[in-house]
């Protein structure tokens, strides 16, 4: 955390004053700092998941490998998938959402700053609880989708699956709370003039993502509860012998799981829609169709879950219907791709590192989309299901799609988030190594899948003909990993000693670039008036390049002159999250006293804080933030 508190020590008179140092982080309520925490934790979990993947690739490099045992291999692929999806990509997205969305809509914070902190601590607590399973006797090993009956008490008698169920439950509650928070924020906290059809695309995709969170997480919550009750209290839901249904888990999981993959990709779409216009010096092409496509994707994502279960025997009718709905998603997705291309068409392109990632995204994501459509052909999927072809598909969409876009976002917004630039030269190396390494690693997996190599096997015989492409894939991982190392180096170096960023280093278009880098605690000295789509660009073209303060509504509340009223830091969210994590351990290790104690403390904490009105505190506005806004208004 030392590196980030470096940022905190930048001269910022516009700083909430209550706490310093570590305490400032534990009591954090500022959306920008919560965003930093999400990004840092997401990056750390990404490295953990990366190491797990690295070991698996070493094991698979040669036939009959013996780097790890079959049992450890099961734990590795389970924890790798679970970590990457729930603890890396999602938190990185939510990190950018926290850091940027309030700035994009001209707000001073989110609707519920304390709940925002609670979301973060629940995510971190759930993630750490899950990963603590490596040391506490039993790591999840039934795959990231944790199918019954293999995840049931009979075939997974250890504690591993309990860590999965309870860790994800806690992290999931955090995500759900984020969803509520950002929906209310986007509906209620937009600056005057920021109408729905002027919302930046990243804010739009956030909005739809959070609707998906809201509707997709409850089925997962229920599923995890059911499995917890089955494993801990001998309830019967999934056990065929007792009349239960293992397909119940699969259905509830994918009713959550497919929207979940769009929760992972929609914010990425939003980032690409911000980066490409900025570096093409053109407004986003087809804005309205972009919005409609996002809504359509969100809606359709609830209608396709059976495409993960074509082989479970629902028959040709069901499979055909879900094959069609799945292919239908390619249409709005295609609309987006053509809009991005048209935005670049005839633009003044600048290939900064952020733009390189965006263009790299276009290339790899389209490939991933195409293998997706191939998998959606149900008869073909009967062959491809459970093979490396599926592995190739989802890594193209998740790395080549989500992760590349997140890295585009990192290079693009890093100056706004930390006040410093990432090094562009290192950035280029970072991009090319990862881009080439990624393709060398994952493209061969299409061939391996078509040749019949099943996913999740821990080794293979030399006679199977899988050797060559496996060697190529592992070779690619070394390139990919060196790119990741450069990324880490670049981030660490720049946080500590990167070039200082100006307010608007990219000559960009959105509100977030109208204020200093990093943004002051209150974001905007005065709430800006939004006069059009791409508000800052409008002022650059038609004003003096600075935002105009919005006229105060009559009867608006006024604080002391030159001060802004901001939420007050508090440690309560952290304590609430701790009680839930403690209760989680209580259930995993069957310690009644711990469960009772933790839940009692939770009750006390809720009782003490539920109705408390945040008194807030006043933060003095820095003169330069006043000057960053147009004088008339």
């Amino acid at each position: 955390m030392a590196s980030i508190s470096g940022t905190a020590n930048l001269p910022r008179t516009g700083e909430a004053t209550a706490y310093r140092g570590l305490m400032a982080w534990l009591t954090v309520v500022d959306h920008k700092r919560i965003g930093q925490l999400y990004l840092m934790s997401g990056l750390l979990f990404f490295l953990v998941g990366g190491v797990e993947a690295f070991i698996m690739r070493l094991q698979l490099m040669h036939p009959n490998g013996h780097v790890v045992s079959a049992a450890v291999f099961n734990e590795l692929f389970t924890m790798h998938g679970t970590t990457m999806i729930f603890l890396a990509v999602m938190p990185l997205s939510i990190g950018f959402i926290n850091a940027i969305v309030p700035l994009q809509i001209g707000a001073r914070d989110v609707a519920f700053p304390r709940l925002n902190a609670l979301s973060f601590w629940l995510f971190l607590g759930g993630g750490l609880l899950l990963n603590s399973s490596w040391f506490l006797g039993g790591t999840p090993n039934a795959g990231w989708f944790n199918y019954t009956p293999i995840s049931g008490a009979q075939f997974s008698p250890g504690l591993g699956v309990d860590f999965y169920d309870i860790g994800l439950q806690i992290a999931g509650i955090g995500t759900l709370i984020s969803g509520i928070n950002f929906l209310v924020t986007i509906v209620n906290m937009r600056a005057p003039g920021m109408t729905w059809f002027r919302l930046p695309m990243f804010t739009w995709t956030t909005f739809v993502t959070m609707i998906l969170v809201l509707f997709a997480f409850p089925p997962l919550t229920v599923n995890l509860f059911l499995q917890t009750f089955e494993r801990l209290f001998h309830a019967e839901y999934f056990n065929v012998a007792a009349g239960g249904s293992p397909l119940l888990w699969a259905n509830l999981f994918w009713i959550f799981g497919h929207p979940e993959v769009y929760i992972l990709i929609l914010p990425a779409f939003g980032i690409i829609s911000e980066v490409i216009p900025t570096f093409s010096r053109k407004p986003l092409f087809g804005y309205v169709s972009m919005v409609l496509a996002t809504l359509a994707i969100g809606f359709l994502s609830f209608m396709v879950w059976v495409h993960h279960m074509f082989t479970l025997g629902y028959g040709p009718w069901v499979n055909s219907i879900f094959a069609l709905t799945s292919m239908l998603i390619a249409v709005p997705t295609g609309v987006k791709v053509f809009n991005w291309l048209s935005t670049m068409w005839g633009g003044q392109l600048r290939f900064t590192t952020a733009m390189l990632w965006a263009v790299g995204f276009l290339f790899t994501f389209v490939l991933g989309g195409m293998s997706g459509v191939m998998l959606a052909v149900a008869p073909a999927d009967l062959q491809l299901n459970n093979s490396y072809f599926v592995v190739a598909h989802f890594h193209y969409v998740l790395i080549g799609g989500s992760l590349f876009a997140l890295l585009a976002g990192l290079y693009y917004w890093f100056p706004k988030i930390t006040g410093r630039m990432l090094n562009e030269r290192l950035g280029r190396w970072n991009f090319w190594l990862m881009f080439i390494g990624f393709n060398v690693t994952f493209f061969p997996m299409h061939f391996l899948g078509l040749e019949g190599m099943p996913r999740r096997i821990f080794t293979y015989s030399p006679g199977f003909g899988f050797t060559f492409w496996n060697e190529v894939a592992t070779f690619g991982v070394f390139i990919l990993a060196s790119g990741v190392l450069l990324l880490v180096m670049n981030v660490v170096r720049s946080v500590a000693a990167g070039e200082r960023a100006s307010a608007d280093p990219w000559d960009a278009r959105g509100l977030e670039w109208s204020i200093s880098s990093p943004a002051p605690a209150y974001n905007f000295a005065k709430i800006p008036l939004v006069r059009g789509y791409d508000p800052l660009w409008v002022e650059k073209m038609h004003g003096d390049g600075r935002m105009i303060p919005a006229p105060q509504a009559p009867g608006a509340h006024h604080g002391p002159l030159g001060m802004v009223h901001m939420p007050k830091p508090t440690i309560v969210p952290l304590l609430v999250a701790l009680t839930l994590v403690a209760a989680g351990y209580g259930f995993i290790f069957n310690q009644l006293w711990l469960e009772v104690l933790a839940l009692l403390l939770l009750g006390v904490a809720l009782h003490r804080s539920m109705f408390e009105v945040d008194p807030g505190e006043y933060v003095r506005v820095r003169p330069e933030d006043e000057e960053a806004m147009s004088a008339h208004g």
Binding site: F112, G179, L214, F229, A242, Q552
Partner: protein, 211 residues
């Protein structure tokens, strides 16, 4: 005021509206809107649980079935009690609107009491089932029944906790200034939990009895 009508895509329009209207972009209080959003997730939560129940309730493992298990008169009384608690909650809200904190307290207590009475009936029902061999682990019917109704009961319990917590909070001198959304939000939650029960009573108990 430089509200110049700029002519690029969509630039005229909302920015030309009068300022008062611009400022009036906050139609619903954050906490009320937040509660509605939360309840929509809760609705999906219970919908999933009801779905699970419908899938599994015919698997009774040669034990009690919905027809043989349910004691409708008992549950009916519980239902009436819970429904009347919605009424007392609304009466409390009215008292708050009139600025009568004492009246509000009275109805909060009544609502909490009715909530607890409902839970007592549910406890009686559950212990009856257990003594007749229908338990969380006796059959998929039992498991899915107890998860659905149990989670509903937990929501009632949380509501009672919320009512009593708010009751304690009403003794704060500044309470009446913040009372409106606080009571409104709790009321929404409480009515929601009641509506869920009506759905459960209809589809689980009544239809279960019919077969």
């Amino acid at each position: 005021m430089p509200m110049a009508s700029v002519t690029e895509r969509g630039l005229v329009g909302a920015s030309d509206r009068p300022v008062a209207e611009l400022g009036a972009q906050e139609p619903m209080d954050n906490s009320v809107l937040g509660l509605w959003v939360w309840l929509s997730a809760e609705a999906l939560f219970f919908a999933s649980l009801i779905g699970v129940y419908f899938l599994l309730h015919t698997d009774t493992n040669h034990g009690l079935t919905p027809q043989t298990a349910f004691d409708l008169p008992l549950t009916f009384v519980g239902t009436i009690i819970l429904l009347s608690s919605s009424m007392t909650m609304a009466l409390g809200y009215n008292q708050m609107r009139r600025g009568n904190v004492v009246g509000l307290r009275r109805w909060l207590v009544a609502t909490a009491f009715l909530g607890l009475a409902f839970l007592a009936f549910q406890a009686k029902e559950f212990t009856g089932f257990y003594s007749r061999g229908l338990t969380l682990s006796s059959s998929p019917f039992g498991s899915s029944f107890f998860t659905l109704t149990g989670f509903h009961g937990l929501h009632v319990l949380f509501g009672v906790f919320w009512l009593l917590s708010l009751l304690a909070y009403t003794y704060k001198p500044t309470f009446m200034q913040e009372a409106k959304t606080k009571v409104q939000v709790l009321g929404l939650y409480w009515h929601f939990v009641d509506v869920v029960w009506v759905v459960i009573f209809t589809f689980v108990y009544l239809m279960g009895k019919v077969g």
